[in-house]
């Protein structure tokens, strides 16, 4: 099952660490407020999960993400 990165936007500090490490440009800071994952681009590599200093990004099964 394909996994993709998800995060609760309200807890995001918008530091952009995830954006920096994402090899597919699947995550970007939206309007300087929170990070947003483009699910179609995410390959579930987990680099953003490791890089997030607030530890709010997790990998979920693609089907469970709305």
């Amino acid at each position: 099952m394909k996994k993709i990165a998800t995060l609760p936007t309200s807890a995001c500090v918008s530091c952009g660490c995830c954006e920096t490490v994402c090899p597919k440009n699947a995550v970007a800071v939206y309007n300087g407020i929170y990070a947003k994952v483009t699910t179609s681009l995410c390959i579930g590599c987990g680099l953003c999960v490791k890089a997030c200093p607030a530890q709010i990004i997790s990998l979920r099964e693609a089907d469970s993400v709305g």
Partner: protein
């Protein structure tokens, strides 16, 4: 998988150089204002926080050091809470204005120039070895000492949290990051 490297990926060298120069001539501390002004301009004018992930040399430095030295312990919840982030921003600004007031007192000749750098808002470190002979007013030098203290303090805090938690844990409570996020929130009314 690796991304193409750009010139701004090496700004960590500038951050390192900035800290080093402060040990030789305190007047270089003024250059640190760039780290205050540029993110604010980017957020006010562009409504973006691009400075944090692209141009922040300190963040890059912590990331590089953290890859080798970070213990990667779980970040305590309180550290990422809004209360702490906004509280730290408020405290940081209060201390910053206190530093500006000290500069004003030297400008108004109510106080003499103190060649000290205050670390963690508590420890006064004698810094006369980096005293500048530049023909400028004492308040200009006083600001440099005060501002270098601010930069050194934030670097030390960043290093401590880098060692304990994730490499860029400083980014979670960085006052500039919190402030620019607030600017963006206000700009987009979120």
């Amino acid at each position: 998988m690796a991304k193409k490297r750009n010139w701004y990926d090496y700004l960590w060298i500038v951050s390192l150089l900035y800290l080093a120069l402060g040990f030789f001539n305190i007047m270089f501390a003024w250059l640190g204002l760039i780290c205050f002004v540029v993110p604010l301009i980017m957020s006010f004018a562009g409504g973006k926080k691009g400075y944090c992930n692209r141009y922040c040399g300190r963040g890059q430095l912590l990331f590089l050091l953290g890859k080798r030295f970070s213990k990667n312990l779980p970040v305590p919840k309180w550290l990422t809470s809004k209360w702490f982030r906004y509280g730290f921003l408020t405290f940081f600004l209060l201390m910053f204005f206190n530093m500006l007031f000290s500069t004003y007192l030297v400008f108004a000749q109510a106080k003499d120039l103190k060649e000290i750098v205050t670390l963690l808002w508590s420890f006064s470190l004698p810094w006369n070895f980096a005293s500048s002979a530049a023909p400028v007013s004492d308040w200009v030098k006083q600001f440099a000492f005060g501002f270098y203290g601010v930069m050194l303090t934030s670097t030390v805090l960043g290093l401590i949290t880098m060692l304990l938690f994730r490499p860029r844990t400083w980014c979670v409570y960085c006052p500039m990051g919190t402030m620019t996020q607030l600017v963006c929130k206000a700009k987009y009314k979120e």
